[in-house]
């Protein structure tokens, strides 16, 4: 029976190793000197306050950051105030919160740090004096950091001022984050509107050429065109399923086939298990469009496009390949790095950026290409990612 004990011990040891790995991957403990420890603790507190500040001046996040900011200043009470209300009051004496907006109005007006004396009848109230410092974003006062204490001191005023400046920096970063998000949203909108005029012109003339010779085909193509534009112009929802994205690609390719005829050859290999996977809206169609353009451009013979989607446990692996003229890797690298003016692979940079924002930097596009040797673009999509729903 000792063998079985051993087996049990191995199972537990295995779990222990796993937990240890998990733990060490999160925390690293080293021995610190006194100064290092103080630096570490101060920065760590500041660091803990940063993420909620990065969410901007909203009540929910302000409550979280106020807690850390109070630790940082070591005052009995601390408040974050915007131009209309007290967003968060951390610590005791919160009956003074009602007066805080009035005090803050002066700071809003002048944009300078000010100290106030506060009268209070309650004997054990920790609030007798307050230092109010402005939180500024791009030179504009957006909020006030109020530090309350028993006795006025120059040190507190200076410390509060510095903390407010640091917090302002974080708020500016928050503003930057928001601008970036707006930019990406704008890019997605632009991408939706980016169905190229050439494509519309080419599709319509191809359809027109069938109207008399093959009215049935013309009708099918028109329906494909309608469905394709409806999908591309849809307003809401940042995500869709792989099967819907593929359906739109099918309509797109049907229209391109009407133009290129038998020259455009498509091979598909889609694992049915990955069809329900949630993917960012319009994350594959630009890649296919790119493949069609590079695969057919400057060519007389047929061009092959291969679309593969395989199941890989927790991820889906999607590959889009063409045997066309390829791209200049340097130019492509510049496009993916977001440099303006680079023209190789329009749309790829946007898809790459959106994938990275959704899933992290491990999940960018992988492009294998060289001039004259075709292009192969690989996308990995995790089957589940928090916050991602079709």
């Amino acid at each position: 029976m000792t063998a079985m004990w051993t087996a049990g011990a191995i199972l537990l040891a295995g779990l222990a190793v796993v937990i240890t790995l998990w733990w060490t991957s999160r925390t690293r403990n080293d021995f610190l000197t006194q100064e290092q420890r103080i630096t570490f603790e101060t920065l760590h507190t500041a660091w803990s306050a940063a993420p909620p500040l990065r969410a901007g001046l909203v009540p929910e996040a302000a409550k979280k950051s106020a807690k850390h900011l109070r630790t940082l200043l070591g005052t009995p009470a601390l408040a974050l105030i915007d131009d209309t209300e007290v967003l968060a009051w951390e610590g005791g004496g919160d009956h003074h919160a009602t007066d805080a907006v009035g005090l803050a109005a002066e700071v809003f007006a002048t944009g300078r740090t000010r100290a106030f004396d506060i009268a209070c009848d309650e004997p054990d109230c920790p609030v007798h004096t307050a230092v109010l410092a402005p939180l500024t974003v791009e030179g504009r006062v957006v909020g006030v950091l109020a530090a309350y204490s028993r006795e006025p001191s120059a040190g507190l005023a200076r410390a509060t001022n510095e903390v407010a400046r640091w917090a302002s920096g974080q708020l500016e970063l928050a503003e930057l984050d928001r601008s970036r998000t707006r930019l990406v949203e704008a890019e997605v909108r632009a991408l939706r509107a980016q169905i190229s005029p050439h494509f519309i012109y080419n599709s319509l003339s191809a359809i027109a050429s069938y109207v008399r010779t093959n009215p049935e085909r013309a009708r099918t193509l028109l329906l494909d065109f309608a469905d394709f534009t409806r999908y591309s112009f849809r307003r809401a929802g940042d995500f869709t399923t792989l099967s819907e994205e593929l359906r739109s690609i099918d309509q797109y390719l049907a229209l391109e086939r009407a133009r290129f005829g038998e020259r455009l050859k498509v091979t598909l290999q889609i694992a049915p298990e990955v069809l329900p996977v949630t993917v960012p809206f319009l994350c594959l169609q630009p890649l296919v469009e790119n493949a069609v353009r590079h695969g057919m451009e400057g060519k007389v013979g047929p061009g092959h496009i291969t679309i593969l989607a395989a199941d890989a446990g927790e991820e889906a692996h999607i590959t889009i390949e063409d045997d066309g003229i390829g791209m200049d890797p340097e130019a492509l690298r510049r496009t993916l790095a977001g440099q303006v003016g680079a023209t190789a692979g329009i749309g790829l940079g946007n898809v790459d950026e959106r994938l990275r924002r959704c899933y992290g930097d491990d999940y960018g596009l992988v492009v294998e290409t060289a001039e004259g040797l075709g292009t192969k673009i690989s996308v990995r999509v995790p089957k589940y990612q928090p916050g991602v729903h079709a």
């Binding site: 991957s25 869709t240 049915p272 890989a312 491990d362």
Partner: protein
């Protein structure tokens, strides 16, 4: 025993699985037609695939062995394994699919938005997966041992290597068609021989299965002992042979009087036709008549044991990592429900077969009661009952089916475990991270297999079910049906249910049996998990995740209400 055909069958299954896994998709799904390429997995295919992945060593060889040794109480194993899907269907299937989660840790995160809940669910899923993988490897060892006499670790190592190589090379990852094929292969492998076995039983005069006598040797039988075995003799028997009994060398004829005896490893004893079969001491005294009665399985609190088994198997299915991931393949919640319904039917048909092997085994292979290799009853019966080439081919079919069971269940588990390891433990979300994790995922259970002796396969699986039912089942059921569960409550409940169940189970395997409250812990650990999760949640209302109502709408609103897709132009 007719090993050649059996070995060929095992090899064919192994190689065939690898080939179909590697090339199947390429052959079946390469097309230029979008209509063909975008066909989703139909509930029938998906249900077959779930059956293929689910019917493990425990189902294929373990249940028959337990029924053979302990009687009809063990019928609750197949009933529970099937009914688990009924609970899954009613309470979990559709909301789980709608949550968008791929694994159980994913569900924990989607529902609670908390890294801590996710981490605990990951560790539990890992532990359950390892416990479930262990009996698969053991079963493979047993099969190869029965076929060739090779040591137990050979089969375990073979399955481990084949599955690891496959998962790493990218083949055999939850490919629906392969797994669906495995179900039908297993059903064929267990059902076709049954037809012949019943015909043979009829031809031999349809002897009473539940007669009032002890199991007797149907013909002169040589019994070989690989390990030191303690046997109980209920009726004195004459035997001849070579070996050591009760510490004395025996050569030629001798009599075993009534009572306990020990037989040394390496002994080979020949018993005459019609002699009553001695039994291993762990198997209770039963004539064929009393064997067929309920609550005669030899436990000290048989009714408690039965109810505990029912709770573990009914509620444990939903916590098995490789079962949950298959639901993701369904396009929506409705398809998930349909799939589950079909699974119920498919499993129901399959589980009709093992009890027949168990019952016939008492007439035709009773010497397994003496060696304790009761799990081998499915493997030896066909060649025992059907003479000549036919019997050997049927034996090969059963062996191939058993091996398919080990391969498919192990590969499903390995993919799930490697996923959890690479994502939540190593935090390497790359292809290389997945490969490293796969190796890590197989080493732990393999190490345990090489050290553990023979524990009944179905008992080990029962333990995995008990842990799943006590920890992940409360998480799923309360997480889906209650808005009041807090993150603290979820973690506390999973630990309060899962840790005692795990410890009780490990103590039981280490001691090789013992106290029924530890051997079948589910009856007290499952309520413990549920109660702790709910009560702690009520005590910590501030830790209920924000946005819970939003999540609930997503889990419960049918897709065609259009509540979730605002995208119609």
């Amino acid at each position: 025993m007719s090993s050649t055909y059996g070995i060929v069958a095992v090899l064919v299954v192994a190689v065939g699985t690898v080939l179909v896994g590697t090339y199947g998709l390429r052959v079946s799904r390469t097309t230029s037609d979008f209509f063909v390429a975008s066909r989703t997995v139909s509930p029938w295919w998906n249900a077959s695939a779930i059956g293929g992945e689910y019917l493990s060593a425990a189902s294929f060889v373990g249940i028959a062995g337990l029924i053979f040794a302990h009687g009809p109480d063990m019928l609750w194993f197949p009933v529970g394994y099937t009914a688990g899907y009924l609970v899954l269907l009613a309470l979990v299937a559709a909301p789980l699919r709608r949550s968008g989660a791929y694994t159980l840790p994913d569900f924990a995160e989607a529902r609670f938005g908390s890294a801590a809940v996710r981490a605990v669910a990951s560790v539990l899923a890992l532990g359950i997966g390892w416990l479930y993988l262990l009996p698969q490897l053991q079963g493979a060892g047993l099969t190869l041992h029965t076929l060739t006499g090779a040591p137990d670790w050979v089969g375990a190592l073979l399955v481990a290597v084949v599955v690891t190589a496959n998962v790493i090379s990218g083949g055999m990852r939850s490919i629906t068609f392969v797994q669906a094929f495995q179900y039908w292969l297993k059903l064929t492998a267990i059902a076709v021989p049954v037809v012949f076995l019943v015909m043979a039983w009829q031809a031999h005069g349809a002897r009473d299965l539940t007669g009032p006598e002890l199991p007797v040797f149907p013909r002169e039988t040589a019994v070989s002992f690989d390990t030191d075995t303690s046997v109980h003799v209920d009726e004195p028997v004459v035997f001849r042979g070579a070996g050591a009994v009760d510490g004395r060398r025996v050569e030629g004829s001798a009599v075993l009087p009534e009572g306990e005896h020990s037989v040394a490893a390496g002994s080979r004893l020949v018993f005459p036709e019609g002699a009553a079969v001695p039994r291993v001491s762990t198997i209770p005294f039963n004539t064929n008549e009393t064997w067929a009665l309920p609550l005669r399985g030899g436990e000290s609190f048989p009714l408690y044991a039965v109810y505990s088994l029912i709770i573990a198997t009914f509620l444990g299915t939903m916590g098995l990592p490789h079962v949950i991931v298959r639901f993701y393949t369904n396009p929506n919640g409705r398809a998930a429900r349909r799939t589950t319904l079909i699974v119920l039917g498919l499993l129901g048909i399959f589980y009709l077969m093992p009890p027949i092997y168990g019952a016939l085994g008492r007439l035709y292979a009773p010497e397994l009661l003496m060696t304790g290799d009761t799990d081998a009853v499915v493997l030896v019966l066909p060649s025992r009952m059907v003479d000549g080439l036919g019997g050997q081919l049927l034996g090969a079919l059963v062996a191939g089916g058993a091996f398919a069971a080990f391969l498919s269940t192990s590969s499903g588990l390995m993919v799930s475990l490697a996923g959890v390891l690479s994502r939540d433990v190593l935090r390497l979300r790359t292809v290389r991270g997945f490969r490293v994790s796969t190796v890590l995922a197989v080493l732990v259970p393999l190490g345990m297999t090489l050290l553990v002796g023979r524990v009944p396969v179905a008992d080990m699986v029962g333990l995995a079910f008990a842990v799943a039912a006590s920890s992940l089942c409360p998480l799923l059921v309360l997480g889906i049906w209650s808005t009041r569960v807090s993150t603290v409550g979820a973690v506390a409940g999973m630990l309060a249910g899962g840790v005692p169940a795990l410890v009780a189970g490990l103590v039981t395997i280490s001691a090789g049996g013992g106290n029924v409250f530890l051997a079948r812990p589910a009856a007290w650990t499952v309520p413990l998990g549920f109660v702790v999760m709910y009560v702690v949640s009520l005590l910590t209302p501030r830790r209920v995740p924000p946005g819970v109502n939003h999540v609930m709408v997503r889990l419960h609103a049918p897709e065609n209400l259009g509540l979730r897709s605002q995208d119609r132009l």
